[in-house]
């Protein structure tokens, strides 16, 4: 079983991202589970969401404490919340940022593999959100597919088109682009 934890801010669509990733894996015949951290949501407040992907039945029903993969939708969260807490050794961290993976060090994680991609710029190219609040939840999933190999990019784009009510094509293409532009 692979456990993925999403970190974003209220309004960025982290919960939807966890759902779409689960849907994509489901399309490839996996057992899946996705859910938000059950809090009171507020625009801008830190938000956590979770996805579990497995070949077998998923029975566990608690939060994810030892993720295999971290997806960080908002780089301003780094240092602000304990993101890497519990990350498994050699765990993967995918960050939406203009920076290079080498610019990041996570002292409390054991040999993390860091990947970066500039989802915000790509999202804006496809007309997703505004300059002050780009919507990156769909875009980053292409990078997640590439960095983890958990699901194919075609399943991601299909799942996006099913789950997103408007600008289906633009959202799917943005994901395809981050798949190409992932660094790390």
């Amino acid at each position: 079983m692979i456990e993925i934890r999403f970190h974003g801010r209220g309004g960025q669509g982290s919960v939807k991202a966890s759902d779409i990733l689960a849907m994509a894996a489901f399309k490839e015949g996996k057992e899946v589970q996705s859910f938000p951290f059950f809090g009171v949501e507020r625009r801008g407040a830190p938000v956590t969401a979770f996805t579990r992907i497995s070949d077998d039945e998923i029975r566990i029903h608690c939060y994810i404490y030892e993720p295999d993969v971290l997806v960080i939708l908002d780089p301003s969260l780094i240092g602000a919340v304990p993101l890497t807490e519990g990350l498994k050794p050699n765990g993967k961290i995918i960050i939406n940022t203009v920076k290079d993976p080498r610019d990041f060090t996570f002292d409390d994680a054991e040999n993390p593999q860091v990947f970066t991609v500039d989802c915000s710029t790509i999202a804006l190219e496809y007309g997703l959100g505004t300059a002050s609040a780009p919507i990156v939840n769909t875009a980053i999933l292409g990078a997640v597919a590439k960095a983890t190999g958990l699901v194919g990019i075609d399943s991601i784009t299909e799942a996006i088109k099913e789950k997103i009510p408007v600008k289906k094509e633009a959202n799917a293409e943005a994901a395809a682009k981050t798949f190409e532009q992932l660094r790390g």
């Binding site: 759902d19 689960a22 849907m23 489901f26 057992e31 899946v32 589970q33 996705s34 859910f35 938000p36 059950f38 998923i58 029975r59 566990i60 029903h61 608690c62 939060y63 404490y65």
Partner: protein, 382 residues
């Protein structure tokens, strides 16, 4: 057909697949999406049912009682304070022997206001005569709603049933759910045909004054129906397995055969407990998990058969009966009377507090090294 659904969608689709005739419900977090999706399904004509809009949960159940008495298969859903507001009519539905199915999304009672998981709401309805079942995952929610109608409507039973699922841990968590094929579901669950109902051609009065000469017998009949329900639940579970491939009993044992320590629990914690058992087994601890699905009727025979070989038994309750202990614990302990096995009552997860694998392993550690107690509080901030 398989889909990825939240627990609330699984509940709404379960009621749809059961082809209910009347839905009356009032929205309350975290149950709200059940009502939303059902109202859409009815409005779009995918379910030929009357959706009765009401101004409170009390009215919702009142509408279901009237409709069910008139011969309709009815469905409602609520949570916490909503269930409490229904309380008077919860009794009415059971004593009126109306096989209504109610999905209760287990939420903590306020104040302090909490929308999160806690089963105190449904446990508080213990003595009303309703059957109560607790679900571990979304597939079980869907399947249980189908089986509930079949069990509740059985001529020998005629009792309403509460189908419980944990707030958020199921209601807002997406999982893969197989929704089968409608024709197969129809053959498993034919339309509701009551023998006694409100009928203008054959008028009767319902729920009239009942003297001491008869009240006692009506209560006796409800008690006997609960006894019979144990068999009907088992039979329905077996029939369900034959058709759909998944088996459900009143309880479920996981790695209990050679277990020295058995953890008894229900709802979503039962799923996490299975993973916790696997991890502890890797470390050589002989532990098993025992899930109780039905709280009413309480599966005394299954509990005794499933636990009597254990050295120590722990029961995890996501609710507390103040002044004594968790209800699943006290009921299990009563069932195990005479077996002389130390029993530990753990109170965990109230108000949506997460219950992790670590918490569950800690309980087994507690059982290994400490004396039994009725109320052991897990993770109190001290």
């Amino acid at each position: 057909m398989k889909k990825v659904l939240t627990g609330n969608f699984a509940a709404a689709y379960g009621a749809t697949a059961a082809k209910v005739n009347v839905v009356a419900a009032y929205p309350i977090t975290p149950q709200t999406t059940i009502v939303e999706i059902l109202s859409e399904i009815v409005a779009d004509g995918h379910l030929k049912a009357d959706f009765i809009k009401v101004e409170s949960e009390h009215s919702a159940l009142a509408a279901c009682i009237g409709a069910q008495a008139a011969g309709a298969r009815t469905y409602t859903a609520t949570s916490a304070q909503g269930l409490a507001l229904m309380h008077e009519l919860i009794h009415w539905a059971a004593r009126g022997r109306l096989p209504i199915v109610l999905t209760n999304v287990n939420r903590a009672m306020g104040p302090g206001w909490s929308i999160w998981a806690d089963t105190t709401d449904s446990i508080s309805e213990r003595d009303t005569g309703w059957m109560q079942v607790y679900c571990e995952n979304n597939q079980e929610v869907f399947d249980t709603i189908l089986m509930s109608y079949k069990i509740a409507e059985n001529e020998d039973i005629l009792l309403p049933q509460l189908v419980n699922l944990d707030a958020f841990f199921l209601s807002h968590t997406s999982q893969v759910v197989d929704m089968y094929d409608q024709k197969t579901i129809d053959s498993f669950l034919p339309p509701y045909k009551p023998t006694i109902k409100l009928d203008v051609e054959n008028p009767r009065s319902f729920g009239a004054l009942t003297s001491p000469e008869h009240y006692y017998e009506f209560s006796y009949k409800i008690a006997m129906a609960h006894e019979k329900a144990k068999q009907v639940i088992a039979d329905t579970g077996r029939e369900f397995k034959k058709i759909f491939g998944r088996e459900y009993g009143m309880t479920e044992s996981y790695r209990c055969d050679d277990a020295e320590y058995i953890l008894v629990t229900y709802g979503t914690i039962a799923g996490t407990a299975k993973d916790a058992v696997d991890r502890m087994r890797e470390k050589g601890i002989k532990v098993g998990a025992f899930k109780i699905r039905y709280f009413r009727p309480f599966p005394v025979e299954d509990v005794v058969a499933g636990l009597s070989h254990a050295k120590k038994i722990g029961v995890i309750d996501r609710a507390v009966s103040y002044g004594h202990g968790g209800a699943f614990f006290t009921e299990s302990k009563a069932a195990m009377y005479g077996h002389d096995i130390p029993m530990y009552g753990f109170i965990a997860g109230l108000g949506g507090r997460d219950v992790s694998i670590e918490d569950i392993s800690g309980m087994v550690g507690h059982m290994q090294h400490q004396d039994p107690e009725n109320m052991i509080w897990i993770g109190v901030k001290k």
